[in-house]
């Protein structure tokens, strides 16, 4: 049972309908809930145990116990969520949205201040 031009109906329908692609960045991308985009930390709960640094498969997380900082290199992070699984205080979580591109591989540091509110500060390091 073979004949020619079996694809013609699909091609004609496609010719008269609008394109499927999302015109990013003019149209925003809507990520579904639960999509793995990037890791965020709740610095107030963090006890600087270093567990996330030990289990990270790529070594993207660095924890400084004395200075109580938590640094992540977002370019190395796979967003596998293993650190979220292993954190004893459950202060890490995954949010939607991928990290912004950049010219050098910068790291992001979150410092735990004892009294004041926490602000994440960006520290650019040379590649």
């Amino acid at each position: 049972m073979s004949s020619i031009m079996k694809f013609a109906p699909i091609a004609l329908k496609n010719f008269f309908s609008k394109p499927v692609t999302v015109k990013y960045p003019a149209e925003p991308i809507i990520y579904p809930e639960g999509s793995r985009g990037h890791v965020v930390i709740d610095s107030e709960q963090c006890i600087s145990c270093g567990m996330c640094q030990r289990v990270c498969p790529t070594g993207a997380i660095t924890v400084d116990r004395e200075a109580k900082t938590w640094t992540i290199n977002r370019f190395d992070c796979l967003v596998c969520a293993y650190c979220v699984l292993k954190c004893p205080k459950k202060c890490l979580e995954i949010k939607e949205g991928y990290q912004a591109p950049g010219k050098t591989k910068y790291s992001e540091t979150c410092t735990k201040e004892p009294e004041e509110k926490i602000e994440p500060e960006e520290k650019k390091e040379e590649n």
Partner: protein
């Protein structure tokens, strides 16, 4: 007898998804012999067992391949669970089966698109991958990632799917089934497509058995061998018969894979209807001690994992035998006597996943 010359084929070729090199001994447009060389994407993943403990190895093993990544993680977890005698709860087994069968649908749709590109039909390639985007959207909504899922762990699954998500999967599968039915008319019944696929690369059932080919490549020649018959996970409760064909040419391999897409959709519907309630992971105590073989039906065929442990947090030896590696001798056999213009389609008909082959 004419003069023989050697034509190098690949690693860079528009038809190949991944780099493989073949030296084709050619005499007047007919191929006499093909000598393969692999090793262009060898990353040495198996040697990472010395650096990462057995829990973190799941993430490494998942990244062996981008197309069959879920099944790799699942096989590794099942191997470690067999060594440690962990009883995985029923709901986790059903979830793994559902994701595994969707992974198979995704892989076959990807292959169909590449096959269409192989014989020059680019519009069909794009339409098939448009259907595949729907499957990837399901994956992102249920597991968080489009290609690498990271939902397996030793003992069960990390994420659960509630009834809303399962109903969403059923709705999307109806839509996917309708679209694949439209597309299959062109893949199976169009005159110009058939004239390129029918009658090339024929292997008989005895040849396929002697060369130890696996997967849809072997089933298209009549060999009824499928690791889902072993009854692991949810397959013991589902009704399943492997799809075979008797022709053994490229058209039969295409037909087997198209029908497997529909079979997977039916299996997922059956599994969603029968999924039990309960926990999704079991507690893991102690360290693994022992060795095991674990066999699983990946989209391309049977994959074997050999894991050896001896009571430490690090695995002693991990050896992965992937299905494309077993099909390479079959490929060289199909190439004997073929025309030079058919080489691209014959290489694609084994569904080559060279990054699995070389890890």
């Amino acid at each position: 007898m004419g003069k023989r010359s050697i034509i190098p084929y690949g690693p860079q070729h528009p038809v190949l998804p991944e780099p493989i090199h073949l030296d084709l001994v050619v005499e007047d447009e007919r191929i006499i012999e093909a000598i393969p060389s692999i090793g262009f994407v060898h990353r040495g993943l198996e040697s990472l067992i010395t650096k990462k403990d057995y829990n973190a190895m799941v993430y490494v093993v998942e990244r062996t391949c981008g197309i069959c990544s879920f099944m790799h993680g699942m096989t590794y977890c099942e191997g470690i669970e067999q060594i440690m005698n962990i009883e995985v709860p029923g709901r986790a087994m059903y979830l793994r089966t559902i994701w595994g069968e969707m992974s198979r649908i995704h892989s076959h749709l990807l292959w169909l698109g590449l096959l269409a590109d192989g014989y020059g039909f680019e519009s069909l390639f794009y339409q098939t991958w448009r259907i595949r985007e729907k499957v990837l959207d399901i994956f992102e909504a249920t597991t968080g990632g489009r290609v690498i899922f990271s939902v397996n762990k030793v003992g069960g699954c990390i994420r659960d799917m509630n009834q809303d998500k399962l109903n969403m999967i059923l709705r999307e599968l109806d839509d996917i089934e309708k679209k694949v039915k439209e597309i299959q008319k062109t893949f199976l019944f169009d005159y110009s497509v058939q004239s390129r696929l029918k009658g090339i690369g024929i292997l008989t059932k005895e040849q396929v058995h002697d060369l130890s080919c696996v997967g849809p490549f072997a089933r298209a020649s009549g060999l009824d061998m499928d690791m889902r018959y072993l009854g692991k996970d949810a397959y013991k409760d589902l009704e399943f018969h492997a799809i075979t064909s008797n022709d053994g040419d490229c058209y039969a391999r295409c037909e087997v894979r198209v029908r497997e897409i529909f079979q997977s959709i039916d299996l997922i519907r059956e599994a969603i209807g029968k999924i039990p309630d309960g926990e999704i992971d079991a507690p893991v105590k102690g360290l693994p001690n022992g060795e095991t073989f674990m066999r699983v039906e990946q989209p391309r065929g049977e994959a074997i994992y050999y894991i050896k442990t001896s009571g430490k947090a690090f695995v002693d030896r991990l050896r992965i035998r992937t299905p494309t590696f077993a099909n390479l001798p079959g490929l060289c056999e199909t190439l004997k006597g073929a025309n030079l213009a058919d080489v691209g389609l014959l290489v694609l008909s084994i569904d080559p996943c060279i990054s699995c082959t070389e890890r």
